[in-house]
Symmetry: C2
DNA sequence: GTCTATACTGAGATAGAC
DNA sequence: GTCTATCTCAGTATAGAC
């Protein structure tokens, strides 16, 4: 479990590079150079760039799933769990400022390329959406749980996009404060 | 004024293609094919792809400026003008569903490429930001006008990103309704 | 001012030696 | 499992004919 295979290293490097430079702009040479293996070598591990993307997406899906489960355990109340989601904006603010949201930017890029894996990439959004929806239901907002989940997702995306464009971390904090207030008002309006 | 030059046609075609396919993914061949000229030919008009991007950005900046001036004339009250901004989400919903927001997606892509023109592309955001800020000030929200402008920009971006990912026009309408309510509450809380 | 021919570059991909 | 060598192909760019 602890010894990472070369394949794992490739996926890990590709994951980072796809986030930082974008999928299309990242070449085999970039990944090979990052992993310190020859270009030809990793055709032994992956037959095409699409295959690497597929592997990256599945790693991200698995990691996201694990994170959500962790939040579920750590947060006693649904409100606390939703707050965990909101506060990744703060935790990851430096990276968001530089590269945007890893979920949103990949989704946007693959949509433009009309790439075959775009639906799988959007599953990342769905993972969050379903999880948030469940938390809002547990909160007592059965009727509009999905609406609230989508609203929160959209707000987070917008914050990431603008923080990236304006290179502004303070804006993230400003908006997170408003999101906290919004979340509290959701609790008060519980049915 | 009415006879468009070949150069204008190239910029127009590039503008569309950059929006639909992304900047990097659009090749010279794509543009040449769209304008019906030979590939080699437009090196007469533009020395590089970067130059075309630059021209496209400047056309977008000019068009945006004109649109903002139009809204300023058409809308009697600042509230009406801000509402004009909110409702481009509705007017352009079909394109947003397919390609996302033209401002946000270009900004995100150029940030990842670390492209030299990224700051110019972000000027598009600034144009909206400054204009919205002025409207909020006119509304009587002098103290937090910029905060409100950025908040509105972020919300719009988020809506566009998610509508694109989930291919969902109804979501746009749902969120625009909430933005209308939010705008009304801004007026009520006027100092 | 427009087009053809051509050269250069780098990315994606394969074969086969070690 | 890793390497080098090599191929193809598309995108970028230039020179010069018409």
């Amino acid at each position: 479990m602890k010894d990472k295979t070369t394949r794992d290293h490739i996926v890990e490097a590709a994951d980072q590079l796809f986030y930082q430079q974008g999928y299309e702009h990242t070449s085999f040479s970039d990944i090979a150079h990052s992993v310190q293996i020859s270009r030809g070598n990793f055709y032994y591990h992956f037959k095409s760039k699409d295959e690497i993307l597929d592997a990256v997406i599945h790693v991200r899906l698995a990691n996201t799933q694990k994170m959500l489960e962790r939040w579920e355990i750590e947060g006693e109340q649904p409100v606390d769990r939703i707050r965990s989601f909101i506060h990744i904006l703060i935790a990851n603010r430096a990276k968001i400022k530089r590269y945007g949201c890893p979920v949103g930017t990949l989704s946007t890029e693959l949509a433009k390329l009309d790439h075959g894996s775009k639906d799988e990439a959007n599953e990342l959004f769905t993972l969050f959406r379903v999880w948030l929806r469940r938390q809002f239901k547990l909160l007592g907002r059965k009727a509009d749980a999905d609406k609230l989940a989508m609203h929160l997702l959209a707000r987070s995306q917008g914050v990431a996009t603008l923080a990236n464009a304006f290179h502004d971390e303070k804006f993230i904090k400003q908006e997170v404060k408003q999101l906290d207030d919004w979340l509290n008002s959701c609790v008060e309006n519980t049915v």
